[in-house]
């Protein structure tokens, strides 16, 4: 790999302090934060020593409670205690209604495509609730690591669609976190096990790994290929609405039926029933049969009975495993390792069925609740720049196909699921009426043929098309999915010789102004100073930009810039430094923007240079053999 080294000997920037980066597992049931300290990754504990933060948020008239205290109140105060909020991330009110009476909350109007939930502290949306959880974890990280965090890797189920990923990123933004990457949970788990490293220190051939991740509210299966530091996701599948909560519900319904309770139970009873069911399920990991008491009823639940209740749900997960294997072009025999993730894999019956399906004993040495956060911490350490660049590379895929609505409510797939990201696809459109200056494009995500069966992602309006006769305009629309799995769209009309840029208006999701408003709302609660916070954020951004520029200049400034350009950049840096030390947030931001714009050609030349360098290991002859 020597030929891929980018820094010249002697030109390496001076070694800097290691940065503070964390990995966060923002789970449906529990959340954790982990970090790499003195070379090894570990979950960071709260003051009381516990590492798991229940993903429960309770709104009271006097403030917000997060974690254990909130969860404990769920039975008594179900409307104000929000649990499993992850299920609602990136979902619209219509989706939420389809969950039926599983959620006891009072839903209000949509805001920015999201349902809002009425609480005693006013209406809140899922992004805000998740941000409360993230804030607690971020603070824990900063306290443990001794200062403000430089960045975080946040994990999401591999199955999350664009809207769900975007909502997660918005929540992080709201919590004041810099997101280095959204990472698929199963990928993080494979990283935690370091399965690419050989057993005896020698080179290992490629091997395929299945990560079976059954959490509280989501199931994911990922098929990965690992070889020498490269983790390649071959396929993913799963169900974003299936998990241990459903196990509890199945057991709870059985208890309710046995105890002769009616089907019309109030929220508090439902919650108590689920707590009893969950305890019974966990106890059966140790015992063959356990006694249950609920109200005046008492009975027993055996492992056999539990298996009978759970098997239909477990079978659903195994069918998804089969599909993911087929997408990867593999069968169960090809899988060299199986990794178990998620608290629900502690259930004995799950382990039995998974072992039976894959024909081998799964890895379960690392605590299945912590393994994702630990993997995320390892990746955060690499991304923030603490670790050598050759150690780890994750090549991830888009979990669901992206398509466009065509005539008659059909969809045309543009980017197929399990395509490696980042990816860009361009499509040409034309006008069908004379003088037409706008058109609408409907982007959907999903595997089904009919538009109505897929998830509507966005309806774009292309505006600003130069008026021409019908069919004369050639509008090239490019759909780009970045390394976080997030979509962006650009459009250019190119028939007129000069490419005109066209404004694209999405119809779904949060606008920056929504985020700002929510930020202000949250400051009002926490009585923080909005201005001071904004200034600090701008300063951090300025520090990041200056440091990145300094490194770039040290590496390539002399070679790639004229003296004049160098002077200009240095002046812009100096202006930013001054603004950083005494300016307002707005002044700093505009200086950062100025520096970025000015350095754009330099950034381009640096990339070209690395391309050339990467090509050098291959002689020109190789290109001329056609």
């Amino acid at each position: 790999m020597a030929l891929l080294q980018i820094s010249e000997p002697g030109q390496t920037p001076e070694p800097h302090q290691s940065k503070r980066a964390v990995g966060i597992d923002l789970g449906t049931t529990n959340s954790l934060v982990a970090s790499v300290r003195s070379g090894s990754a570990e979950a960071l504990p709260a003051e009381d020593g516990s590492v798991i933060l229940p993903s429960a948020v309770r709104y009271t008239e006097s403030g917000v409670q997060v974690g254990l205290a909130a969860r404990a109140a769920a039975g008594d105060d179900p409307f104000n205690t929000l649990i499993s909020i992850k299920r609602l991330m990136g979902r619209g009110l219509a989706d939420v209604k389809s969950f039926g009476d599983q959620l006891p909350y009072h839903f209000g109007e949509d805001t920015g495509g999201m349902p809002s939930i009425e609480t005693v502290a006013g209406a809140v949306n899922p992004v805000q609730v998740s941000a409360e959880i993230l804030k607690v974890l971020a603070k824990r990280g900063a306290d443990s690591l001794g200062g403000e965090l430089d960045g975080a890797v946040i994990t999401v189920p591999a199955y999350f669609d664009d809207a769900q990923r975007q909502a997660t990123k918005d929540a992080a933004k709201l919590a004041g976190l810099k997101v280095l990457r959204l990472l698929n949970e199963p990928t993080a788990a494979a990283v935690a096990y370091g399965l690419d490293k050989s057993d005896e220190g020698g080179d290992v051939a490629d091997r395929t790994v299945a990560v079976y991740d059954l959490g509280g509210g989501t199931f994911d299966i990922s098929i990965l290929r690992l070889s020498r530091g490269v983790f390649e996701v071959l396929s993913t599948g799963g169900d974003s609405a299936l998990g241990g909560d459903d196990f509890d519900r199945a057991v709870g319904e059985w208890i309710a039926a046995e105890a002769g309770l009616g089907s019309d139970l109030d929220a508090a009873t439902q919650r108590k029933l689920l707590n009893t069911a969950c305890a019974a399920k966990e106890a059966l990991a140790e015992a063959d049969s356990i006694a249950i008491e609920y109200g005046s009823w008492s009975g027993a639940l055996s492992r056999e009975k539990l298996a009978e209740l759970l098997d239909p749900l477990i079978s659903k997960t195994l069918r998804a495993c089969k599909r993911a294997l087929r997408d990867a072009g593999l069968t169960a025999e090809d899988i060299a390792e199986v990794v178990l993730v998620g608290g629900s894999t502690r259930t004995l019956r799950v382990r039995e069925k998974v072992e039976e399906f894959f024909g081998r004993k799964p890895h379960a040495d690392i605590d299945p609740d912590q393994v994702v956060a630990i993997g995320a911490a390892l990746q955060a350490d690499v991304l923030v720049g603490n670790k050598s660049r050759e150690d780890l590379l994750l090549l991830d895929v888009i979990p669901l196909s992206l398509g466009l609505e065509t005539m008659g409510g059909l969809t045309e797939k543009l980017i197929h699921r399990n395509t490696t990201i980042p990816v860009a696809k361009a499509q040409e459109f034309t006008t069908f009426k004379d003088g037409q200056t706008a058109m609408a494009i409907h982007v959907v995500q999903g595997e089904r043929e009919l538009e109505k069966d897929c998830r509507s992602l966005a309806r774009f309006e292309l505006r600003g098309i130069p008026p021409m006769v019908a069919g004369a305009a050639h509008i090239r629309v490019t759909f780009q999915v970045d390394a976080d799995g997030l979509l962006s769209v650009s459009a250019v009309e190119k028939s007129s010789g000069v490419a005109a840029e066209i404004t694209v208006k999405p119809s779904y999701g949060l606008e920056d102004s929504d985020i700002t408003r929510m930020l202000q709302d949250s400051y009002a609660h926490a009585e923080e100073d909005v201005v001071a916070r904004a200034l600090r954020e701008a300063q951090v951004e300025a520090e990041r930009s200056m440091e990145a520029m300094l490194v770039a200049l040290q590496e390539d400034g002399a070679e790639l810039l004229s003296n004049e350009e160098l002077d200009e950049l240095e002046r812009a840096m100096e202006a930013l430094r001054l603004a950083h030390n005494g300016g307002t947030a707005e002044e700093i931001r505009s200086r950062v923007e100025a520096l970025n714009t000015l350095s754009e050609p330099f950034a381009g030349r640096r990339m070209d240079k690395s391309i050339k360098r990467a090509m050098q290991g291959h002689s020109l002859d190789e290109f001329d053999q056609s």
């Binding site: 395509t419 769209v489 066209i502 694209v504 990339m607 990467a614």
Partner: protein, 197 residues
């Protein structure tokens, strides 16, 4: 359809969608990117190895701590490397790309005019439809899959030698048949999923 215009050059930056600068591209063709000869036969191992080396260099993860501009460029380069890899990995896409490089236009609506081939395809599809009602669908599907696989192999060879001989019309004919057979294969896979899951 909507009326109204906001004028060229306008940019939007919203929470969800960021318009990104376009026009940054690697200059090499897909084969050059991977240092492979421009030919239908591809050294799969060399391709996979080179692909990973390039992604080690240009993947956005390598730029997560760098400036926004560099992050954007790396995303575009990495996307292009992925696109090149996907094209070269898949025989049908690779064949179409080779013809495109040779300046041959392929109309997506166009189909083969070879009557004998079309007849064979019709029979294969009829058999496909009958699999469901066969006494042993699994073995019938297996037989069909093997046959389709062999036809695909033969057509790939036909394409390869036509291209090597610079017989572009002939190569195009082979590509059109390849597309047919690839579609048949995906139908076979879909049916298998349908029947046995």
């Amino acid at each position: 359809m909507y009326a109204g215009s906001e004028g060229p050059g306008a940019r939007v930056h919203t929470g969800l969608f960021v318009i990104w600068a376009s026009g940054m591209k690697l200059q090499q063709n897909h084969f050059e990117i991977f240092g492979l000869p421009v030919a239908f036969e591809v050294d799969r191992q060399a391709l996979a190895k080179r692909y990973r080396e390039l992604q080690q260099e240009f993947h956005p993860d390598r730029f997560a701590a760098k400036s926004e501009r560099e992050q954007m460029l790396s995303m575009q380069y990495a996307a292009q490397i992925n696109e090149a890899n996907n094209t070269l990995k898949d025989p049908v896409q690779r064949a179409a790309y080779l013809l495109q490089l040779a300046g041959v236009e392929i109309n997506p609506e166009q189909t083969t005019a070879d009557g004998e081939f079309l007849m064979q395809q019709m029979i294969l599809r009829e058999r496909l439809e009958e699999v469901r009602d066969a006494s042993n669908p699994e073995s019938e599907l297996e037989v069909l899959s093997v046959e389709a696989g062999e036809l695909l192999k033969a057509q790939e060879q036909a394409f390869s030698s036509a291209l090597a001989a610079n017989a572009l019309d002939e190569a195009k004919g082979a590509l059109l048949k390849l597309q047919f057979l690839a579609k048949l294969q995906s139908q076979l896979e879909a049916l298998e999923e349908d029947l046995f899951d």
